[in-house]
């Protein structure tokens, strides 16, 4: 199934982790998709809306809809941006174009798992022990994995995808579902709590034996990496798109 895909690269990935955007693009192309990156894109509007300033998201949302309404699917390597588009795109009038965009926006893992239904990544090999970090948006809003609070049958879309990678091993942290404390502007307005949560998170993975923390969300990892580096916790970070695209480290 070849789809016309609009690639959205979140602002922090564009600016700080271009490799994640490249891996996402290459992976989708490798899977035979027709991918376009509309170059005028900026931000989904999430920072303003999550702060309560909904009307300030209107310009971002309007631009987003103008750029992406013509695609079959909009894919982005970010759970929280996806959640924003899907659940909170409320600053603008709900036209057909807006509804189309909201209904056809996917986070990369769920797009691979649910839409393209990819299970094998024969080009990928990652002979390392990784700890999987699910962002709270991916976990509890997009529901890409089972949630420990609900006692539901265990499933994990990112884990299913990663299991298709040769040589990969998993470490299980003691508190796998605990928020890492990034939280957007929370990371600055509640600096002490945020940094402490991040430190606890990276230590938990490190103690479980993880060489890498892998996640579908670079924002969580930007924060965690900062905490780990400052405290001298020896752990590395990689986006799931990079592993699935065959990154060798």
């Amino acid at each position: 199934m070849r789809m016309k895909i609009g690639l959205f690269v979140p602002c922090y990935i564009d600016a700080f982790y271009p490799g994640v955007g490249i891996a996402t693009l290459e992976l989708l192309e490798r899977l035979g998709q027709d991918v376009t990156y509309p170059q005028e894109q900026t931000c989904c509007g999430q920072p303003m809306t999550n702060a309560g300033c909904v009307s300030d998201s209107a310009a971002s949302e309007a631009l987003f809809v103008r750029l992406f309404a013509g695609f079959d699917a909009i894919v982005m390597p970010s759970g929280s941006c996806t959640h924003h588009v899907r659940a909170h795109f409320d600053a603008i009038e709900q036209t057909d174009a807006v509804r189309h965009v909201r209904a056809n926006t996917y986070e990369l893992v769920e797009f691979l798992h649910d839409v393209l239904k990819v299970r094998d990544f024969p080009w990928a090999e990652f002979p390392h022990t990784v700890g999987l970090h699910n962002s709270c948006s991916s976990l509890r809003a997009l529901r890409t994995a089972s949630m420990s609070e609900l006692g539901e049958p265990a499933f994990s879309k990112p884990m299913t995808l990663l299991s298709g990678v040769k040589g990969i091993r998993f470490a299980t942290p003691a508190r796998p579902d605990e928020c890492c404390g990034f939280g957007g502007t929370f990371s600055v307005s509640e600096e002490a709590v945020s940094a402490r949560m991040g430190l606890d998170k990276v230590r938990d993975h490190h103690q479980a034996g993880a060489e890498y923390i892998v996640s579908a969300d670079s924002s969580c990892m930007m924060h965690q990496r900062g905490c780990a580096e400052r405290a001298g916790v020896n752990i590395r970070f990689i986006h799931i798109a990079e592993i699935l695209n065959g990154a060798r480290q």
């Binding site: 600016a15 005028e40 209107a58 310009a59 309007a62 631009l63 502007t185 929370f186 600096e191």
Partner: protein, 472 residues
Amino acid sequence: MKEKPINHAGAAATFIADKPHLDFHDARLWDMRQKRDAQMHVLPEWQELRSRASAIKEHALANLADYLEQFERNAKRNGIHVHWAADGTEHNRIVAEILAARGARTLIKSKSMVTEECDLRPYLAARGVTVTETDLGERIQQLDDQLPSHIVVPSVHKLTEDVARIFARHYGTDPDADDPHQLAEAQRLAARPVILHADAGMTGGNFFVAETGTFVVCTNEGNADLSATVPGVHIATIGIERVVPRMADLGVFIRLLSRSALGSPITQYTSHFRGPQDGGEMHVILVDNGRSARLGMDDFWTSLKCIRCGACMNTCPVYRRSGGLSYGAVYSGPIGAIIDPTFNERKYSTLPYASTLNGSCTNVCPVKINIHEQLFKWRQVLVEHHQMPFVKREIMHMAGKLMGQPKLYRAAIAGTETALGTLPRFALYNWLNPWGKNRELPEPVKETFHSWYRRNRPAAKPGQTDNAENTP
């Protein structure tokens, strides 16, 4: 009235700086969360119980006036005096009048969040009534002149050595003897004589039942039963939202309450109060104190379903690392952050931001309150009501404008790259930059994804070229 907003972030930073307290607090509450999970796993019908509990509460709240009046009729028939308190002041006045009519000078009471809400103790103290808390944790907080930091375990932010020092000051015990059993015994020895000679007793109430005119108090220490029965005069203060229609409904809540709160199947004592003892008196004070107004709030009325189990606090990663006192309110944690602004929007305007919106609170809530969605919604309400600090509001406004203009946005991104790459370390990591206090900044990159794409995908299709026109 202009009141300064609670500085949650600052208080949390102070709490975090004290490693022994932080570590104990986080571990103790996480242990309660895990015990709660274990209890959930032994009940296959757990999610059904939550749905049922939520539905009963929503039904009761939707028909609140009828059930309250039904309770009043039946309670009176049982010989219970029923009083109505519109707010905290009226509540306190009713209590004082009951006590004054009987010449009561000493009151023993078990834990009740509503009496904290009404600020009862200072009111009675000013009228010459000595109030003694009989719940261990609540008594510790009373002696230390602090609010409860948790609605179920009020002094969970304290270590045993803190308690030893407080008891030494008030009870004359050894300040260095911090064995929990010894401390509990010290409290027992101090409390029992007070209980035996008290003029009146007071409890809260976890649930009251409309069809029977009775109420239920769930505790683990037995102190509520002593407070209720020893003095002969029993006053129970209960929020109006705690009504359930039928006795049969209670089973749903009793099964959920202690499992959610402490991870135990049931509280040690689940006492049903059906009427006064022979020769005694029983009073129920039904307290509104803002609840009717909350019931009228479209986005927030379901917070009234709360059964005060504290599960949202135990699971909250922010609460566990900031301590209940950092919320500066009677109700702390996630549930506090959505209730407190209804009492005072300005004072508690910071609390809905003391959250990462991770949603764990919503998942553990036994009555399915969408806590994190209400936190999200409160932020909008606070912004609409001009409760966001001016600078932050302006930043959001400017960011919003920038994000709508691709050309300006691109220029700004280029600036950030340059700044990260060229500014000296002291400029990046100073006190103006909270990110850098305990974290490194991301490393600068040679090229954004945007630039890479333009270089590597030059065969851009029509409509894909960078015709960056600004959107209005």
